[in-house]
Symmetry: D2
Subunit: 378 residues, 4 copies
Amino acid sequence: MSKIRIGMIGGGPGAFIGGVHRIALNMDGDFDLVAGAFSSSPEKSAQTGQELGLDPARVYGSWAEMAEAEAALPEDVRVQAVSIVTPNHVHHGPTVEFLKRGFHVICDKPLTVNSALAQEMLQATVDADCVFALTHNYTGYPMIREARELVRSGGIGKVLKVYAEYLQGWLVDPLEETGQKQADWRTDPARSGPGGALGDIGTHAFNLLEHVSGLKVQRVLAERRSYVPTRQVDDDTMALLEMENGATGTLCASQVCAGMENALRLRIYGSEGGIEWDQEHPNDLRVRWKDKPSEIRRTGNGYLGEHAQSLGRIPAGHPEGYLEGFANIYRAFARAIRGEETALEDPYPTAVDGVRGVQFIETVIQSAEQQAWLEMPQ
Amino acid sequence: MSKIRIGMIGGGPGAFIGGVHRIALNMDGDFDLVAGAFSSSPEKSAQTGQELGLDPARVYGSWAEMAEAEAALPEDVRVQAVSIVTPNHVHHGPTVEFLKRGFHVICDKPLTVNSALAQEMLQATVDADCVFALTHNYTGYPMIREARELVRSGGIGKVLKVYAEYLQGWLVDPLEETGQKQADWRTDPARSGPGGALGDIGTHAFNLLEHVSGLKVQRVLAERRSYVPTRQVDDDTMALLEMENGATGTLCASQVCAGMENALRLRIYGSEGGIEWDQEHPNDLRVRWKDKPSEIRRTGNGYLGEHAQSLGRIPAGHPEGYLEGFANIYRAFARAIRGEETALEDPYPTAVDGVRGVQFIETVIQSAEQQAWLEMPQ
Amino acid sequence: MSKIRIGMIGGGPGAFIGGVHRIALNMDGDFDLVAGAFSSSPEKSAQTGQELGLDPARVYGSWAEMAEAEAALPEDVRVQAVSIVTPNHVHHGPTVEFLKRGFHVICDKPLTVNSALAQEMLQATVDADCVFALTHNYTGYPMIREARELVRSGGIGKVLKVYAEYLQGWLVDPLEETGQKQADWRTDPARSGPGGALGDIGTHAFNLLEHVSGLKVQRVLAERRSYVPTRQVDDDTMALLEMENGATGTLCASQVCAGMENALRLRIYGSEGGIEWDQEHPNDLRVRWKDKPSEIRRTGNGYLGEHAQSLGRIPAGHPEGYLEGFANIYRAFARAIRGEETALEDPYPTAVDGVRGVQFIETVIQSAEQQAWLEMPQ
Amino acid sequence: MSKIRIGMIGGGPGAFIGGVHRIALNMDGDFDLVAGAFSSSPEKSAQTGQELGLDPARVYGSWAEMAEAEAALPEDVRVQAVSIVTPNHVHHGPTVEFLKRGFHVICDKPLTVNSALAQEMLQATVDADCVFALTHNYTGYPMIREARELVRSGGIGKVLKVYAEYLQGWLVDPLEETGQKQADWRTDPARSGPGGALGDIGTHAFNLLEHVSGLKVQRVLAERRSYVPTRQVDDDTMALLEMENGATGTLCASQVCAGMENALRLRIYGSEGGIEWDQEHPNDLRVRWKDKPSEIRRTGNGYLGEHAQSLGRIPAGHPEGYLEGFANIYRAFARAIRGEETALEDPYPTAVDGVRGVQFIETVIQSAEQQAWLEMPQ
C-alpha cells in the first residue's frame, strides 16, 4: 500500500497547528509530505521546506503558485491531497482552488470567517469529486466516539441537559501585544473572523456537543466579552442553549480563565444516566446511571463499542492523546481517499459541520448584540 | 461551660434535614436538645420526642404551643434557642414568634417563600436582641473559607469569571407521586415557595458564590424548566450572571441530571489564578495559577489561612464532611449566643443572606418569564 | 430511649484522640458524658472536666479512683460505660478493672503493648458480662463495609493480591524533641509499645486488610527503620505478606513520607476484579472488573449492600468523613449495650481483633530482626 | 534535513510492540522505514512488508539475511539503523551483528535473557562506533524528566522512601493457552527469559526508579509467584528494596491484578517532599511538600524544567501519551545518529541500563529462591 502524497498550505516558522498536522499525517504512515506553501513569505516557506527535507522545487511561496505548479506535474508525482493549516481567512481560497483542480483537501477549523464563504466552500466540496475533511480533531478521540454511540443509541435515555465548556487562560493578558504569533492572528478579526474565543474554541465545544448528542442546537442566548480592553475580538463567550429535542444547557468558551490550560469538557445527562468527558484526561469516560454505580470506561478495552475500539492504536492503559485523536482524522481521510470501507459512521467532520460552526458563530454574535434568544439555522 | 438548651421545630418522622441538624448540634457538645414541636401531627411529634428520649411534657403539637409553653417555664429550664427545620413556608411564623419572645433562632434555608416575608424576618432579627443564624451550611466547609480568604484578599487578582453549579438527579422521575416526603413538599409551591430546584439548591449555589467571591450578583438572565411534565415547580434552572465588578458567569441548578448526587461546585477565575471546589470532595481546594503549577490545598493543614484552620476539628488527612460543615454553623451560633469572641468574619449566615437568596429566586423567575437581563436588588 | 452514661479515661489537654472520641459519642445522641479521669494530673483532669461542663465531683485524678468511686454510686447515676483513650500502655489497666466491675468498655487501639497483656484483656472481656469494643475506627466507613461484603461474598473471585499501606509524613523531622504531645508518647516505647509507625498506623492497615478480605495474614517478611536517628521506635515499616489462601502482597506503614497526610489505602485484587479504597476520599470505592468498566460506588446510594447502607447517615453526595466512621463504632457499641439487634456482621472490632494486632506487631518485629519469613499465630 | 533510513527486525503480523515502534519512528519525520525482517517466517515478513508499502527486495526472511544484504547495498541506499522489536531471546543476535557491521541499533527491552549475553551486548556497543538505544520508553515521558530533575537536584531533600509498582491484569487467566501471541512468548522462558512479569514489566519499574531517583538499588528481598498454575514463568513479583543511600521501599510487578490495565506508578518521598506519577495519567506530576500545598505540574507548561519542556510537542492541556513518550526515545536516537547537540542528560537508555535490568532480574530470582536479602551488582 503506497503512501498518499500530500502538500501543506501554512505551517511555517512559529506555527503551532502546522506541526500538529505534520505529526498527525506522519503517525500511521499513510502520507508522504512532498510539497508545501508554508508561508506567504517565500523565504520562510523555503526555510520550513528545508527543515522538513523537501525538494526545494516543490516548496512554494504561495498556495496559488503551488496549486498551479503541482497540477502541472505528472499524475504519479504531484500531490494527491493538501492540508490547509493557515489562519481562518485563508481557508476559503485554497480549499476552493485545490478542490476545483481535483485535489483532496483536509482543512483546519473553523471552516471560514462567514456564512457566505462557508456555503461556497460547501458547494465546492459537493461539486468536486474529492474528499474534504475538516479537522474538528476532538471528534477523533476514542472515548468521544464511545460517548456518541452510547448517547445516540438511547443508552442514557432521553437527553435533558447538556453542558459544554472550553476554558483556557492563555489570553488573560494582552499577549497579542508581545507579537506572539498564535495570539496575534487569533485576536485580529481580519484573520480570525468576528469570533475570538467563540470561533477559536467555542466552535469545538459546539461541534462536539452536536456530534456526541446527535442533537442540533436550536436556540441560543449568548453574551460575549473582551476582558482585555484593547482586544478586538471576544475572549469570553457564554450561552444558554436549547436543543432540538427540548433539552437545555450551557456552552462556555473563555480564554481568560487564568490557570486553565485546554479544558474542553462535555457533559450530557438523560433520563437514565449521563456522560462526562474532559479532554485533558481523554481516556476516561465517566458514565453515570440513575440507579447504579458510575462507570469509568477507558480507551483500548474490549468492552467498548466498535467505533471507539477502531480508533485506538494501543492496548488499554497506554494513554492516547491529542495527537492520536488528530491522527484519527487523517487516517479516516486517507481511507476515504483510498476508497476503503469503514464501519465508522461520519468518520471525519465535513464542510457540513463547518457551515454549522460558522452559523453558530454568527448566531451567538447576533444573540449577544440583541440580548435575545435566537434560532439557529436548521 | 454548660450546654445551651435548645428546642426543635420540625424534624419529625421521615424528615432528612431534621436529623442533620440534630447531629450538627450534638457534635461539639454545645447544645442539649430538651424540647420540640417535631411535627404538625401531635402523634408524630410525640413519637420523635420519645425516640430522642425527651421529657414528654416538652414535646409539643405545634410551634405556637411550644413558644407559649417554653416561655412560661423558669428561665434556667426553658430552651434558650430553637432550631427551625420545617418546610420553607413554615420558617417565617416560628422565627418571628420565637425571636419576639427572646429566643435565639437558627433556621434552615431558604429564609422564606417571598421577599415581603423575608423583609419581616430580617426586621424581626434586627428588633430582637437575639442571635439569628441561617443554615447555608456549605459556608461551614473549611476549604470554602480558604477560598473566600484567598479570593477576597485579591489572591487570584481581579475576578473575571464565575461558574457555580448544583446538579442532582434524584428528581428526574416524578418521585413526588410516590409520596416520598422529601420530594413531596419540595415540589409543592405552597410549601416550598415558587422556586423548585431554584429555591432548594440554586440558592445554595448563589449564596456560596457571593460568600466566596465577596461580589454581589448584579444582573441575571435566566431560564427555568420542569422536565417532569406534571411537576408544579422548576426542576431545572440556569442563568447567565454579571457580578457587580463586571465579572460574568453561569449558575446552573438542576435536579434532573440522572446519576448526579449532590454536585455543588464553584469555580472562580481571576486575572492571576482561580479556585475550584467540589462539595463531594470538600477537603480539596484546587488553586490554579497563571504561571505556576496548580496547588491542592487540603483541610487541616498548617499552611491554611486562620479562618480555614479554625473550622477544622481533626488533623490533615482525616476527612471532614457535610455534617462537620453543618456543625460549624451550630458552633458559631453557640459562640454568638455565649458572646464568645471569634476571629472569623461573618461566622454564620444571617437574615441578610436570607433576604438576598429570596431576591435571587424572585429575580430569576422574572428574568425567565421576561427572557431578559434583570438587575438584582442591591 | 435514654442516653447511656459514659465516662472517659484520658483525653485531657492537648490530646487528639480524646476529642475525636467525644465528638463520636456525641454525634448520634446515644451517650451522655458524665464523668472522667482525663489526665494523670488531677489539675489537668479538672480543667478538661470544667471545659466539658461536668460535675466536678465526677472528675477524677486517676482511672483507679474513678473506677472505685463510680462503682459506689447508685446504679442509675453511675456511668454504664467507659471510653479509654490513653496512650497504649494505659489500656490494659483500666480495661481489666472496669470490665471486672461490670462496666462496658470502649478502648482505643492498639489493644496494648504486648501479647501477654493482650491475652489478659481478651480473657477479661470473656469473663465479664459486658461489651468491649476496640476503636479500629476505619472499619466504620460505609465503603469499607461495601468492599468487605463484595470481597467476602466472592464478588471479585479468588483473592490473589493484597496491597495495604498507611503513609504519613508528620514525623519526618524529630517532632518529639519539640515536646509535641502526640509525637512525644508515640515515639516513646515505654508508652507506645515496641512498634512506632508499626503500632500506631501499621495495625490499622493490618486490621483493615483482614477485615475486608476475610483472610488472615499467615506469613510475614518485614523490615523496620528509624529514619530519624534519635528516634527510639520505628518510623517506617514495610512487609511482604502471604495470606492464608495463598494470596500475597505488601503492607507499608511510614511516618516519614513528607507531604503525605493520612494515606491509608487498601487494594485487593481477585480472579474476577478488585477493590481500591483511599481513606482520604472515603466515599468512593473503585471496583475494577476483568472484562467490564470500573465502577465507582459511593456512600449513601440505594445500590449498596445493606451493611454499607446501614452505616450512612445522610443521602448520597453529602460526604461523610472520619468522625462519622468513628461514630459508627460508638453507635454499634451503644446498640450492643442496649441489646438491640443489628443486621451488621461483626458490628465493631473486639479484643480478638486487638490480640491479632498485637501479634502482628510482634511478628513483624521478629521477622525484621531475623530477616526471615515468619508465621503469624493463627 | 534528510530522513534516516531504518530497517526493522520483528514486528510482523499480530505483534504489538512493532506497531508502536513504527508509529514512534514516524511521528517526527526523522526516519524512513525502508527494509525489514519482520518475522522468522518469510511469508509473514513479506506480508507485513507489503502492508507497509516497502520494496519487496528489501523485505527479508531473517535478520541474518538482512544484515548481509543491506551491508552489500550502496552506502546511500542501505539502512543506517535498525530497530529490533523481537521477543527477548532475539535481541542479542541481531544487536551484535548489526553493530558489528556499523549500523546504529535501537532495541526493545529487556536487553536480553541473561547477564552473560547482556555483557556481550554492552561490549558490542562499546566496540562499535554506533549509537545503541534501548526503548525503556517510559523515560521518554516529559513529567518523568521533570520528576528526575526535581529529585536529582535535591528538590525533595534526601530520598527516604521509594515505591514503584507496575500492575496489570491481562494474564490473570491462562491466556497463553488460547494462542494469543503476546501471552504466548511472554510466558515462555525460552523466549522471554527466566522472568515473566519480572522481566516484562518489573524491569520498567526498576529502570524508572533508578532513572528518576538517581539512586541505585543496592539490596533486594523478593518473592515470585505464578498464580496461573500451568504458567512457566512468574506472573507476580514483589520485592523490598534498599537503595544505595539507605532509602528503602517496595517494587511490585504483577500481571494478575484483574481489572488493572497498565498501572506503572512511581512514588518517591524525601525529607522535604515527594513526587507521585501514574503512567495512565502521565501529564500530571503530583509534587508534595512538607509544609506547603501539593502541586500538580503538567506537561507543556513554561514553569517546567528545560528537560521536561524539551520533550513536549504541543502546548499545555493537549495530552501527550504513550506514543509520544516512545517517540521521544526515537527522536533522541535520531539526534544522536546525526550528532546533534542536546541539553538533555542521558537522552535515551543505553546498554548500561540494559545490563542493569538483566542483573535486577537475576538478583530478584535468586533472592526469591533463597528468601534472603541479596546485593545487586554495583
